[in-house]
């Protein structure tokens, strides 16, 4: 058997790891997407880079971080951040840029500043795509946060790896089941949030 306290502790670490990385990705990703609006070249560079890195296996990304930053919590956060950043930047940028040109034209014509156009016109339209991106990033972060136990991040992954090493099924289950529940919770809660923030008058009508 695995102690309840051990599982709760690992679960806590897992949550901190997942959400710290996710928030970091959001905090960097959204400004990056806004910046991409300013320059077509920056945008195509970031989109190209995003598509590339998304094709690379997570395990390779986690491993490559070790020679750069060593092992432990911080390198793990960085690895997760790298992977979670891309869907957020990509979706937010697509959401922000795919807005009816006539509407932007009218907004500019009646005297909104570029910033006001982003804030009042582009952002509300980007919410659905942005939230889809954040949801995907959260699921990804939750998944990689198990894997990063191999570079010493702690969390539920430690239980899984210990279980693997000692053929201890209880430990394997104690590590993986909460992570799966967490994934389902993320999926449901973000879908709900997505519906809540989608402004009326967008989509549907």
């Amino acid at each position: 058997m695995v102690g309840v306290e051990r599982v709760l502790g690992a679960f806590g670490e897992h949550l901190v790891l997942t959400y710290a990385s996710l928030f970091l990705s959001i905090a960097v990703g959204i400004p990056l997407a806004i910046l991409s609006l300013k320059s077509k070249r920056l945008a195509s560079f970031i989109m190209g880079f995003a598509n590339l890195v998304q094709a690379i296996p997570s395990f390779a990304v986690v491993a490559i971080v070790v020679p750069l930053l060593g092992i432990g919590f911080t390198p793990a956060v960085f690895a997760i951040f790298l992977r979670a950043l891309l869907p957020i930047v990509k979706n937010t940028y697509v959401g922000l840029s795919e807005v009816d040109e006539a509407m932007i034209d009218a907004a500019r014509g009646i005297g909104l500043t570029e910033w006001e156009i982003i804030r009042y016109v582009r952002f509300p339209h980007a919410y659905p795509a942005m939230f889809a991106g954040i949801k995907f990033a959260a699921v990804l972060a939750n998944s990689i946060a198990i894997l990063t136990a191999i570079i010493g991040s702690g969390g539920l992954g430690s239980l899984v790896f210990e279980g693997l090493a000692s053929f201890n099924t209880d430990k394997i289950l104690a590590g993986s089941i909460p992570a799966i529940l967490m994934a389902v919770f993320i999926d449901i809660s973000f879908s709900y949030l997505e519906k809540r923030v989608t402004p009326e008058g967008i989509g549907g009508g």
Partner: protein
Amino acid sequence: MVIEMLFRRIETVELRDVTKRYGDFTAVDHVNLEIIGGELLILIGPSGSGKTTLLRTINRLIEPDEGEVFINGRNIKEFDVVKLRRSIGYVIQQIGLFPHMTVKDNIGLLLKLEGWSEEEIDKRVKELLHLVALPEDFVTRYPHQLSGGQQQRVGLARALALNPPLLLMDEPFGALDPILRKQLQEEFLRIKEVLGRTIVFVTHDIEEAFKLGDRIAIMRDGRLVQVGYPDELVLNPADEFVAKLVNVDKKFKHLDTLKVKDLMVDVEKYIVEVQRKDELLQWMRDKNIEFAVIVEKGALKGVTDLKSLLKSQDLEEALMEPLVFSPGDSLASALAEMKRRNAFLGVVVEREKPVGILLANEVLLKLL
């Protein structure tokens, strides 16, 4: 709340040698034009002649490659571009309402950005809705819950929110069906009187130009061909092109042979049998029409429009007696009658039942 405008009123808007190129192509070619404060100047010309491009140099959505624009003698490059645009209303054919905002938020956005209080915004939005003949309870609606004509009214209200002394309108009624266009033109004439501001108005439609414009500027291939009052253009056209554009008379030769029934439009959509005002209002909103022909046991009782309906106490008060023709009447005399009575429509009746509508402008359009 006082709004800070770059200019309170317009003395002149002067375009000097304005040129805009796209690569090798010259969209606007050395245009010189002076717009006089208080007038409504029409820009008209074929598609691609540079009307939109020229208009947009005035609010600096387009910066000319050569030449300059002056408002009240000051080069508009001296002004902060956002302040300039807030001092100039802008209405476009595609309207460009924000679909995620209610009517109130659409109209009130600039007011909010200018720091107005909620109460002041509420009051102003209601004022503007009243001005463009929309009911107050539209404030909570979203654009997709409005008809095309209603959306365009909201677009106009939004452009007028900060009370700009200059208004740029790019084919504002271009996308509307003829009946609605007619009605909005009428209303716009009224609004124009109330506001008394300077307007530059782009259109394709020579009828609209004659109807709304004080002066008319004709463009072709990026160049300004002629500017003048309607009679000047008709009596002294600068060239064949202008003559053709403005001279509609010779096309009416065959008018004598036509009957009312040849050019009337279908009335089916507008016919309703109701007793009460609210009932009719609801029906018109459901059908998204602004105009109705009321019948009693199939026989014509009268006509009314949304605007009169909203203003009056009950249905009886709102009912107007229309000009009535029969299908076999001569079209020429029907038109003459309409012109004399200053009516833009007549109802065509056969054995007391309405069978069609005669719209002055629609008839002209079909004859052209």
